[in-house]
């Protein structure tokens, strides 16, 4: 198992290198250079040229990439050309917000998706099954941007029971940073007021992001449950008189979970990209908004670092998914 994890971790490295190179080339050949914008609105051509030289933008592209790589390996992602702040520090501040949001959405999508998918599969062609199918198709077809605004209008504006935006109310002191995840930090500091507010602020954005994933997981679970219910072992167990509930939960469900769990790994990537739009609507101060701003301003250091971090997290999440496969299916575990 440990060897498997080590091997998979090593495999991530060339993937990250490729990702970084691709992003670097796209930025350099398609994005112009930030020197003119950075020089300010009354800059002279000489000033722009000087800034270009200071940033090393006059160097051959391969030299620029090599220099960046050397620093990145040491954990130095450079300084934002615009704010003069360390990009690593910015990411450290913003990443927990995105992770908290994405994991909350993943949890909602996984728990509810598997629950509804299983019921729909077990009670195939029932009213409940049709309802789940309609909801899942709708969930897949709904634009998260629109859904986010609808949730705001209903729950924040019309009924005023959930906050409109942000991670905490304006003026409320954030819990001291331990993990950067407000829910956990608030509990660790015994700040129940902050925990409750952080939870309330998390609900609408997390539900928005989870919608598409919930639909996907429900559909995959339903198909897998139907296939398992029709397999020989399930027929045998029902024939010898096991109650339906016992057939479904320990046996059918365990055999059906491999497919939806694989989806969870893939969905993580979709959730992070979805977070870009959702973070903007809910003013969620995460990496999504940071990345969009960096792209619009050609802030290369920031774009590259965020790409690298998201790529690395995506890789790690997929290793965790593979390990979960091993837990669900001992045959997979033996091959690890």
């Amino acid at each position: 198992m440990l060897l498997f994890v080590a091997r998979r971790l090593l495999l991530i490295l060339p993937i990250l290198l490729g990702l970084l190179l691709l992003t670097f080339l796209m930025l350099r050949f398609g994005g112009g250079d930030p020197a003119a914008a950075l020089a300010g609105d009354n800059a002279t051509p000489e000033q722009i040229a000087q800034i270009r030289e200071d940033l090393g933008l006059n160097q051959p592209i391969i030299v620029q990439f090599w220099d960046y790589l050397k620093d990145a390996v040491r954990g130095d992602f450079g300084v934002s050309a615009y704010s003069n702040r360390s990009v690593g520090l910015d990411i450290a501040q913003k990443l927990p917000a995105t992770l908290e949001l994405t994991f909350a959405a993943l949890m909602i999508a996984t728990v509810l998706g598997i629950f509804f998918g299983t019921l729909a599969g077990v009670y195939r062609n029932s009213v409940f099954d049709y309802l789940v199918r309609v909801i899942s198709v709708t969930g897949l077809a709904t634009a998260s941007f629109w859904f986010a605004i609808m949730l705001q209008l209903v729950f924040a504006m019309e009924f005023d029971i959930l906050p409109l935006r942000g991670r905490l109310p304006t003026g409320m002191e954030a819990p001291g940073t331990i993990t950067g995840l407000y829910l956990i930090d608030a509990l660790l500091h015994g700040r129940l007021d902050a925990f409750w507010e952080a939870f309330r602020h998390l609900v609408l954005p997390a539900v928005t992001i989870s919608l598409g994933g919930l639909a996907t997981i429900a559909r995959f679970t339903r198909s897998a449950v139907i296939a398992s219910m029709q397999s020989e072992f399930a027929t045998y167990e029902q024939a010898v008189g096991y109650p339906r509930r016992r057939v479904v939960f320990p046996y059918v469900l365990r055999n059906s979970l491999v497919t939806p769990v694989t989806q969870v790994g893939l969905l993580f990537g979709a959730f992070v990209s979805n977070a870009v739009a959702v973070e903007a609507v809910f003013d969620w101060p995460g990496l999504g908004s940071y990345l969009v701003e960096a792209i619009f301003t050609s802030d290369y250091q920031a774009v590259l670092a965020v790409t690298l971090v998201i790529g690395a997290i995506y890789g790690v999440v997929n290793i965790l998914v593979d390990l979960t496969h091993g837990l669900l299916d001992t045959r997979v575990a033996e091959r690890m």
């Binding site: 605004i149 009924f159 304006t170």
Partner: protein
Amino acid sequence: MKKLLMAVCSTVFLLGSAPAFSAGNELVWGDTLPKGLDPHVVYDVPMQVFMLNTYDGLYRYTGNPPELTPWLAESHTVSDDGRTWQFKLRAGITFHDGSPLTADDVAYSFQRLLTMGKGPSGALKPVLKAENVSKVDDLTVQFKLDRAYAPFLATMPLVSIVNQDLLKANEKDGDFGAAWLASNEAGSGAYALDAKTYRPQELADLYRNKNHFYGWDDNKKPIDVVRAHPVQETSTRVLALLRGDVHATDGYLPTDQVTRVEKADGVHVRKDESMRIMIIRMNNKRAPFDNLNFRKCVSHAFQYKGFISVVLKDLVARNPGPIPGNLWGVPKDVAGYNYDPDKAKQYCDAAKAEGAPLDRELEIHIQSALDQTTQSAQLLQQGLAELGVKVKLVASTWANLTSQAGSAETTPDMWVHWVSTYFVDPENWIGQMYDSDFQGTWKASSWYQNDDVDRMLREARSKTEQSERAKLYSAAYRQIVEDAADIWIYNTVVLRGVSDRIEGMKFSPVGSGAEFRWMSLKD
């Protein structure tokens, strides 16, 4: 049904919402924060707001139209040749940490800005070197310019005076304390930043500086705490205002949201004519835009009235030339171009007869994040399509476009942008946009070349009498409009959604009325 849903939701979430902010003397400002907080590195509209509130300059713009008001300086003198300027500081001014603000700090601030060469330094660099700024005595600072430069005084509000000792204490590897100042503040302004709670582009808490040199006698109930808490998305921004989460939005409310805010209770829209002109640039060095008749054809093919009245619901003011209509130096009798398809066709035919290549597909670059650039480009596309000229819209970003403006070869055929108020002088617009010395910068991206105009603009720059300068700018304005160098569309009206609780707001185009020291909140 509504009650049932309400009951269900309330049960699920146990209790209702908490108040978004304390109802006391605390203002929540929903406008954008600058990317970094160093006023000598970043210079844009959000930074103007941060600077106005946390820093002081030698002079400050107040009112609309803006007037230069002595601020840290109580007076200034200028030598007969217009090159040596001396500023006398007020006595007894202190920074937020209590240390005195002296001529040393002023000299250091200018030297720091000019040496780092970022932010607003471009307005000074052509005429001032860092070594030519010096302290005369504790309260007098002197500038020796390379040549006479009349707009020098107008650029003074651009430069924030920073606390020299504080920055030197936080300097690393000769960076002038820039890494530290990106997330901190070293000023003497009416409000001080709480650096402990500052989260970049997310939250900046500002506390009233009771010892500010200007005093607080003119505001009986000043705001004690300002929580600058930007809202990224327009729709959320307006909802936050309607809900009472913020007391003010940004100053660029879309026209459809203006109606929405105006219909709501407890909030209103402030409309103030600013000095920010919208332009469609034409690359005068590239065919067919190097042909005067073709440029006039394009100028007559744009539906100015349709754009201003229908798209923007008359919430802007038509501006027919390269100086905002509410600034001096504008010849009032110049009406500019209007939408006239017949005239446009005549000019296009004339251009074709002169050999202008009208067959190729032209490009107009828009800024993806700004709807108005798309809307105006589509109108022009439609107007030219009726004349048989094909135009393609190309999505881009500000960073790309300003970088492309570095040479005539890479500058797009056309692109859309605004020129805001960085300093209040025609030099900020016509001077830097059409003097060929500025080619290679985004402001001069039409690559317009006219020796007479160059001469007039340079002469205007060197004269000290405003009346003489106004004549020169007026003449240059006429010539540039006659040459149809660009398509000038409108001068912006700042549209800001504000709570009815805000009182005393004073608008100035520099900072768009976001100077908190004048404001108070009704109970």
